[in-house]
Amino acid sequence: MKEEIIIAGFGGQGVLSMGKILAYSGIMQDQEVSWMPSYGPEMRGGTANVTVILSDEKISSPILNTFDTAIILNQQSLDKFEEAVKPGGVLLYDPNGITSPPARKDINIYKIEGAEEAAKMGNPKTFNMIILGAFLKIKPIVKNENVEKGLEKSLPERYHKLIPLNLEAIQKGHDSVKSIQTV
């Protein structure tokens, strides 16, 4: 198994921490992982993205030009990464703020109303976990129990009481993701 993922959106949407939880979940099931963020002042209110790779074998390059999955959370990121999805790969996006939706015909496209569902849950901070849940529904590359362990490992102790809420949000993502196009 090898899954190469780009997660991209605004700074503050929890893009980096979502990638970290995914990577930790991979470690919990003995996989090799890498997590490579964009960094620097461009993050100041601008875009943030992270490349996450989970693999059964040693990972060569942590930096990639094409991806199995792109998780896209704003228009700039869609413009930048739509073309980077491998043919037959997956593009998952939140339509909130998207003015020109993905147009590729050779990839699988899914939609998750993450911002809306988070508002319904009454906590905008659950947003990134809803997105993660949607992704794991499409590609169940890590087991639920390992996601829970991943959460425990990546959240500081004082936030552990929030783990049930996070798991609930992941379930919400599972239930709410919609397929737009399959190839």
Binding site: K20, A23, I27, W35, Y39, S61, P62, I63
Partner: protein
């Protein structure tokens, strides 16, 4: 097995320093390595191991604190990124001249000048040719994973002590910022005063006790004959390193017709390029120098008898390529390919370059 964690390279090196028993860290914030001092300040190692951590007023000061700490026989470390390392070179030259063990970490970003904060490998010359003034070399290790960022603290420091010579970990923004799985080693106690006396008593400035002559740490020698002799001694040390301390990793070289040569994060990208090229039926191998000084000159010279050409792949305008050419001595064509200024080459670009510059060239 030690403890498994997901960490950034910068965090891992800080944690490894605490666990290895480093006595003092001196730094100044600069992107992309500020997490080193941030991690240390959050970890408060002074409460746990007694390790001292200082945010200095500048890199000039940080490096001179390193010099002072090293003169006391303490295990000392500093880290920075390219513009900051340029400022540290003054003290580094003194440390080399005074023959002290110390560790400098450079998480390289693109230059020249203020340049970019994005990753690069454009400080190779500065690292391996000395960098500061005078005839000296650092022991230079180039990690290509977060695990090696952690492991090389001990590996370099042991050599620094063995040769009484400053060492450098030459990393870059990718390895510093990337998170990977790391297995952390167990804690080692810091050297006690008695151990320092036993190991370094002949030179460390720990206070003149009646049982010994005074120790003077200096890089000054006004008599030219003696200074030349001192230089001979340094050169003999470097020669011994060349003979006994070279480390490298070779992959698929047995049947290789072409060779990629790359260090650090570029070697990771080359691995992927090698996979792509092999899928196309091109017999490519990869030689990755782990020590940049001493350089795997002998290994490259041997491979020059086997392969038809070599491509040095660096995130720079081509620096290591010169050392490869020296090693190969004209036997086969040696070319350079690389993106720089903060741009990272892709595996496809490397395969293209190999085909254009070496195979057809």
């Amino acid at each position: 097995m030690g403890e498994l964690r997901l960490m950034k390279g910068n965090e891992a090196i800080a944690e490894a320093a605490i666990r290895y028993g480093v006595d003092g860290y001196f730094g100044y914030p600069i992107t992309p390595q500020s997490e080193v001092i941030e991690t240390l300040m959050a970890r408060k190692p002074w409460e746990e191991t007694g390790m001292v951590v200082v945010q200095a007023e500048s890199e000039v000061a940080a490096a001179n604190m390193l010099y002072g700490g090293a003169a006391c026989g303490k295990k000392v470390m500093t880290s920075s990124s390219s513009p900051g390392v340029s400022l540290k070179l003054e003290a580094i030259s003194y440390i080399a001249g005074a023959e002290l063990p110390a560790l400098v970490v450079n998480v390289v970003r693109g230059g020249p000048g203020l340049g970019t904060i994005q990753p690069a490998q454009s400080d190779y010359f500065q690292a391996v040719k000395g960098g500061g003034h005078g005839d000296y070399h650092l022991i230079v290790f180039a990690p290509n994973s977060v695990q090696e960022m952690a492991d090389f603290v001990e590996d370099t420091y042991e050599l620094a002590i063995k040769y009484r010579n400053p060492a450098m970990i030459l990393s870059d923004g990718i390895i510093g910022q990337m998170m990977e799985k790391v297995e952390l080693k167990d804690f080692k106690p810091r050297f006690t005063d008695a151990e320092i006396k036993e190991k370094f008593g002949s030179w460390a400035t720990t206070g003149k006790t009646p049982d010994r002559e005074r120790n003077i740490v200096t890089s000054l020698e006004l008599q030219s004959e003696l200074q030349e002799k001192h230089n001979h001694k340094l050169q003999a040390k470097y020669q011994q390193m060349r003979e006994t301390e070279v480390r490298f990793e070779s992959t698929n070289t047995e049947d290789a017709e072409y060779l990629l040569v790359a260090y650090g994060s570029s070697s990771r990208i080359c691995r992927k390029a090698m996979e792509l090229a092999r899928d196309k039926g091109i017999k490519v191998g990869l030689l990755r120098p782990i020590t940049l000084f001493p350089f795997p000159t002998k290994q490259l010279a041997e491979l020059a008898n086997q392969v038809k050409g070599m491509l040095s792949v660096e995130m720079s305008a081509g620096q290591m390529v010169e050392d490869i050419r020296l090693a190969v001595n004209g036997k086969v064509p040696v070319e350079h390919f690389g993106r720089y200024g903060g741009i990272i080459h892709s595996p496809d670009e490397i395969v293209n370059a190999l085909e254009k510059q070496i195979i057809k060239g």
